[in-house]
Structure formats: C-alpha cells, structure tokens
C-alpha cells in the first residue's frame, strides 16, 4: 500500500495533537476524525489491518480532508500528513473502493481537452488573457491535479499527458499559470518549459499604483503552505496600491475553503459551506472590506454561498487597477 511509504508520518501524527487547531475541517465539524491525528489513526488502523480499507467511515474521513497543508507548514518538523492522506486515497482508488460521488467526479474530470490559441513566446493558462498581451493562451479544464488529489493517479497522468502535448505544440518555453493548484501541479513537470505563477510574471507592475485601497488577502493553500509562502502575490498587490490587512485572528489558519482539495466544493458541498460560513463569520467585523485571493476556486466558492461578500482574484484586482 502507498501509505506504507509514509510510515514516519503515521508514527509522528497518530498520537500528536500539536496542529489540530489548524485543521479547517476539524474547526467546523469539531470531529476528532477531521484532525491530522484522527486521520493518522484511521490510516494506521488500515496499515495494521488492510481489511479496514473497506470501512466506509474511514474512507469518508479521508475524503473530508481539505488538504490545506496548514498543519504541515506549521508543524515544527513539517511531517507530511497531507501526503499521507493522498497516499491513502490512492490506495482506496486502487482497491476499487472509491465512493460513488468521488468516482462520478473523477470521470467528469477525465473528459478534458486543451486548445492553444494566439501568438507569442509565452503561454498563459488562466481566465484573464487580456492581462497578458502578446501571449498565447491554453484553455481547458484542470490539468490533472484534481484527479491526483482524489486518488486517481493514473487517470491524472493521462490528463496531464494531453496538457503536456498541447504545451509542446505551442513551442512556448514559458508557461504562466494563474490557478495556484494548477501551478503547484505543473511546476517542475514540464521539462524545457519554465512554469511561473501569474503574479511572478506580472511583477514588476505595468501601471501606476493610484489611490490606495484597503484589502484582506486570503492566503492560498498552495502558494503559502505547499509552495514556500510565495511573496509575489502580496508584492504585486502592494505595488498596485492595495494596502493589505490581516484577516481573522492569526496568520496560520487556512481560510481557503477547501482550495487544497481542488474540487472540495463539488465533493463535500455541505462541509464547504461550513468552511465558508466560518470565513464570513470572521469577516463580520470587516464589513465593506475587499477580499483578494490568488485562487479562482476560493473566489467563486466564497461568492457562491454569500453573494454580498466582495471577493476578487489577484488577476481581477490587477485588471481593475489597469482599467
């Protein structure tokens, strides 16, 4: 089983409580099974008795994780509990035990095609091509990350192969990626192609800052917890005149409503709504505030359950300044 490759994480996390305060799902369900310790105990039970892999309660716990990686990022020893859960999901899928809703979602994610348009040496993959004049664009759904986090690794590879082929045909040597999950997935995977996040590409700013506007930047699970707390989004927003204010009570929790699990809202809509409600609750004393996120997923999900909240993606925020 893939979980056996993570024995050190199982040993470290199964009896450790030190990061439970950072699990976004545990913080809204209050369930022990929704903490890194709870999941590690479940996975350890599976390791000791593979028959437990068939336990529907255990499988449910694995797919409730939001995979924010805040726990890993703030763990003194950075034990990869996120990787452990992904390995367990892979074991579930390979054993043919994926829940029906997960299978349905995975099949939909496999049905994807990628198209390259335009002219230029740089290829842009995102929803705001106007911000990238002179660049080619590649369009299509998720390049394989969502399938990977659901545990469908071989299917993920097939989707990625299609993406890779389209990139190769574009002959571009630089790929600019907007969605943090896709950026996290693609970086280092395309030999001969430099993968950059859109905020890195957009620095330095091409417009004057103008009047300062206060905004709360909701950190991205991927750019912060997975990719070393990338500074470019914050620097870009500041250079465009956004005065960034802290959100919530601390800088450690994830407020990205399931971004780390890529398709969390489709997988667990009721739980996702709870995650959103917690963010709205914390935003209660910031009425009229502007929220900016690097992730289209976070923007759309937060707006979905509360149309009154003003949330922009970083690209939206830059486009607004350029207008």
């Amino acid at each position: 089983m893939h979980i056996e490759e993570h024995q050190d994480v199982i040993n470290a996390c199964r009896f450790c409580f030190m990061c439970r305060h950072l699990d976004p799902v545990g913080n809204v369900t209050f369930r022990e099974a929704d903490t890194p310790r709870g999941r590690a105990l479940v996975i350890d039970s599976i390791r000791m008795n593979p028959e437990c892999l068939k336990n529907a309660d255990f499988i449910d716990a694995l797919y409730r994780s939001a995979l924010s990686a805040a726990n890993r990022y703030h763990c003194v020893s950075h034990y990869d509990e996120t990787g452990l859960v992904l390995a367990a999901r892979q074991d579930v899928v390979q054993a043919g035990l994926a829940p029906e809703n997960v299978k349905t979602l995975a099949h939909a994610l496999e049905d994807v095609a990628f198209t390259v348009k335009g002219k230029g040496d740089v290829l842009y993959y995102g929803e705001n091509p106007k911000l990238y004049p002179g660049c080619k664009t590649i369009s299509g759904k998720d390049p394989g990350k969502a399938l990977e986090v659901l545990g469908f690794v071989s299917e993920s590879r097939k989707v990625f192969a299609k993406f890779k082929k389209a990139v190769a045909e574009s002959k571009c040597k630089t790929l600019v990626v907007a969605e943090p999950s896709a950026y996290d997935f693609l970086k280092g995977k395309l030999s001969g192609v430099k993968v950059v996040h859109c905020t890195e590409y957009l620095l330095p700013p091409k417009a004057k800052a103008g009047r300062t506007r206060k905004a709360c930047y909701l950190e991205s699970d991927f750019l912060k917890n997975y990719d070393g707390n990338m500074a470019a989004p914050r620097e870009l927003l500041k250079s465009y005149g956004y005065a960034l204010e802290p959100f919530g009570t601390n800088g450690e929790e994830s407020y990205s409503v399931g971004e780390g699990a890529v398709v969390y809202d489709e997988l667990n809509p009721a739980l996702c709504q709870k995650l959103c409600s917690r963010v709205y609750g914390l935003a209660g004393d910031a009425k009229g505030a502007l929220f900016i996120t690097a992730s289209r997923y976070v923007r759309d999900t937060l707006k979905k359950y509360n149309a009154k909240i003003e949330v922009l993606s970083v690209e939206d925020a830059i486009a607004r300044r350029n207008a």
Binding site: F15, C16, F17, E32, N55
Partner: protein, 481 residues
C-alpha cells in the same frame, strides 16, 4: 449495557439527535476511534500493539449549556456514562470512555462571548481551543498569559478540568488563579453559575469545587478568566550549573527573594545532556537553568540583573540572554515529534510539586525508586513551575524497549507509577501538579487524601446520584465491567 445491537441504542441515539441535531451525534468508526485514544500512554500502547481501546457509543457535540443539560438528563434516565472531552490531549486518561457511553465533545462550544477591557477579563465557552482563545484575546490587545505546551490542542475546559498550567505560571498563575467564575451544568442537569469574583467572604468557593474535578462533578460550559496587557518587554537569561542542587539553590533564592519572574525552568544533568542538547543545541555537562521576566522594560532589566547576580554567586557558566531567548522561542518544540518521546518507547511524566524544603528529596526519592527497581528505565527531570514556596518537578521515565505484549507493557508501566509516585508522596509531594489524576492516578487518591477522600466521595454522590459523570476517574467509583 448499550450496544448497537440493542434497540435501546437507537432509542438513545434518537433522543440525543433530537437535542443537538443529526450533524452532532456521531456513531461512526472513525470518530469513535479518535475518541478511544487520548494522550495517555496506555491507549496509545494498545493501539500500537493492534489492540482496540474501548470506544464510546456516541460522540455528541452540544451547542450550549441547555443542550448539555438535556443530554445529562437523558443519560440519567438511561444510566449511561457521560465523559466530557475537550481537546483529548490529556495525559492521564481522564477523557477516555472506559465504559463506553456518551462522549460529550465540547469543541462546538467555542465562542468568545465578551472581552472586558476595563476589568481585563474574557468570557468564553470552554470548548474553545486555547490557541484560538489566545489569538482572539491578542487581537483585542491583551493576552491570557496561559501558554502551556498543549496550547494548540487543548481547550479552555480541559485546563479547568485538570488544573492546567502554562509556561508563565510563576507570574500569572495556574488556571485556578486565572479563572474568575464558571457556568456549570450539574450531573442532574441544573445550570448554575459560581460567584462572579474569586476573592470574597461569601461562603466556600464553588468555583474551586469544580476546578480540577475532571468532569466527575458536572460539565463546565462557560468561564470568565483574567487577561493581561501585552508586556512591553520579556527577557530571558540562562545559566549552566555544575549540579542540579547548585541550580536549585539559585532558583529557589530567586523566588524567596520575592523577585517576580514569569518563568523559571531547571533541567537536571541527564535532561540537559539529552533533551536540552537535542532541542536547543546546547552541548554541555551540568544543569541548565533559564528564567525570564516581563513587564515594563526598566523593571524587567532591574529584576533580571538581580536574578543574574544571585546565579553568579554560585559555581556557574553564564550562557547569556541568547541561550535564554532560544529556550523561549523553542519552548513548544520539545513536545513535537520527533523530539517528544514516542512509540515504541514507554514513557510517563511523573509530575509532582512540593515545598523548596522537600522538592530535592522528592526528586531523589523518585529517581531512586525508578533506577533501583527498573534498570531498563531512564529517569530525567526538570523543575518547571515555580512558586513562592516551592516548585513543580516534571520527572519522566523512558523505557526504549518495553515488552511487546500490551498487557505486560502496561503492567510494567503501572508498576513504575506505583513506586515513583508513592515515593514522592512519602517525601511531601502530591500525586500531580498540572496534568491531573484521571484514570492513571485515581488509585492513589485515597492514600493521598486519607480520611478527607470521603468528603470528596460524599460531594460526588450528592451531586451525581447515578454516577453518570466520568465514572471510574479520580479514584471515584466506576460502573463495573
């Protein structure tokens, strides 16, 4: 007994669901597994050896005191055990559902209700995670000054349940010094409030009755506690002494001089050589003493100077402020894997507290009990909470290769506790300072208290006539097996 194969099970589940709603009654295997193991070594050992620790029948998350009251009434009707659960990070087995029953997981009651900047108090529901509480209070410009190693995992209620202590206890006190008043649901379901202030001459302190009662006398649902301004400065200094005794003389002198450090910690020679070296990188022979002061900077500097002068009178190596600050910055690191002891090791924290006159005797008696009777065990210790009259000993034993058989391992483990804690009591120690009694030490309560334990038993029987509240803990009667 209630079991899933018994139709009473569905009856009780229906009643509980009626009170708290579908989302907040869990009976699934993943949650029950999580609630069958806390931070007590014994259930961890059982799990590690492939045994199954006893799970609860139901995990229930109440939203408020009224729901807690309704749940307790249901439990009384059916005579089902109720075990309050905060963060589950207690090390004494106090939150384990040893007879099954209802685990009352309090984490849903997590609201900060009021911050009073005039009186400097915060009122919160007790299921709030201690780190979340601290962050909320800090956002308002204050601090609880309660910084235990378990701050990230334990709840406010958990600290109240077992009289918890934070790193800055020497200045700001234990949780019992921080609490102003409590809201409690009694075992029969009455919602009561203790008096709003802790200092009064209006009869005995009901607040004190529930502090440290570990869920055996009722369910604490709300608490008001003191908060403090963020200090202008907090500074540390560290020394290395040739022997633990020399360091103890210096540390006790700092306290009896009535200086007001926020923290003092003294590691014995073995722990200095093992843990201090591993975590802080200080590779020296001797006993490591660190202390700190906080408050207005001028006062901090003056007190620090006085404390350093006391230390310099003995044979010492001055490690300076940087080594002190390094300890503070890494104070929680000791408790993260891989720095914390872990399976397959057997380990326990034999914490006790005694006066300065007795504390070294307690240390040597415990060390002797462990070393002479259990040559396979290593004994280490540090003194981590200091008061005007004495200090706490955080002694630990570690066995690197305990028996593989779970029962054999637990039997050995219990024997070490029996001998070490009884040795401490004989020298003027008590069975515990801040981890509580729980399941682990309940058997020693009767001999610790002597005839006074009957008073505690009478209180328990009066408040909890059906013995539903956390039975079998703190030395109180169990439910039978």
């Amino acid at each position: 007994m209630i079991t899933p194969k018994n139709y009473l099970y569905e009856m009780v589940r229906s009643e509980l669901t009626w009170v708290v709603g579908d989302d907040y009654v869990q009976t699934n295997d993943a949650d029950k597994l999580g609630h069958s193991i806390d931070y007590y070594w014994v259930p961890e050992c059982w799990h590690d050896r492939g045994e199954k620790p006893t799970p609860p029948d139901f995990v229930v998350h109440p939203a408020n005191a009224k729901e807690v009251s309704e749940i307790l009434k249901i439990a009384n009707t059916h005579n089902i055990p109720v075990i309050p659960w905060g963060g589950g990070s207690g090390s004494q087995g106090g939150a384990l559902p040893i007879y099954g029953g209802i685990v009352l997981d309090m984490k849903r009651m997590n609201k900060v209700l009021n911050i009073d900047p005039v009186s400097m108090t915060v009122t919160a529901e007790v299921g709030i995670n201690a780190q979340h509480l601290e962050w909320a209070v800090e956002k308002a410009g204050f601090s609880t000054m309660h910084f235990p190693a378990s701050i990230a995992c334990a709840t406010l209620g958990g600290f109240i349940a077992h009289r918890g202590t934070g790193v800055l206890s020497t200045k700001y006190g234990k949780i019992e010094d921080m609490i102003m008043s409590l809201e409690v649901v009694t075992p029969t379901g009455e919602i009561i409030n203790t008096l709003p202030v802790p200092r009064h001459a209006s009869g005995p302190s009901l607040t004190e009755l529930f502090l440290g009662s570990e869920g055996t006398l009722g369910v604490v649902t709300k608490a008001t506690m003191k908060i403090h301004p963020i200090p202008e400065a907090r500074k540390f200094h560290a020394f290395l002494f040739k022997t633990m005794h020399d360091a103890m003389v210096a540390g006790s002198k700092i306290m009896t001089s009535r200086l007001h450090p926020c923290a003092i910690r003294l590691y014995d020679e073995t722990e200095t050589a093992k843990l201090v070296k591993r975590v802080l990188g200080i590779d020296r022979q001797g006993a490591y003493l660190v202390f700190g002061f906080d408050g207005p900077e001028k006062i901090v500097d003056l007190q620090l100077e006085e404390a350093c002068a006391i230390c310099r009178k003995g044979e010492h190596e001055d490690l300076g402020t940087e080594a002190g600050q390094n300890w503070w910055d890494n104070r929680y690191k000791f408790f993260y894997p891989p720095y914390m002891f872990h399976m397959p090791q057997a380990f326990g924290t034999l914490d006790t507290v005694a006066t300065f006159s007795n504390i070294e005797n307690v240390y040597w008696a415990m060390k002797k009990a462990v070393n002479e009777n259990f040559p396979q065990a290593t004994f280490i210790g540090h003194f981590s909470h200091w008061y005007d009259w004495g200090c706490m000993l955080y002694a630990r034993f570690i066995i690197d290769n305990p028996p593989q058989d779970a029962n054999e391992a637990v039997a050995l483990y219990n024997r070490i506790w029996d001998m070490a804690i009884r040795a401490a009591i004989k020298e003027g120690g008590v069975i515990n300072e801040h981890h509580g009694v729980g399941l682990k030490l309940g058997r020693m309560m009767r001999e610790l208290y002597g005839p006074a334990f009957k008073v505690l038993e009478s209180v328990k029987k009066t408040l909890d006539p059906n013995n539903i509240m956390n039975p079998g803990k703190m030395g109180f009667q169990g439910k039978g097996v």
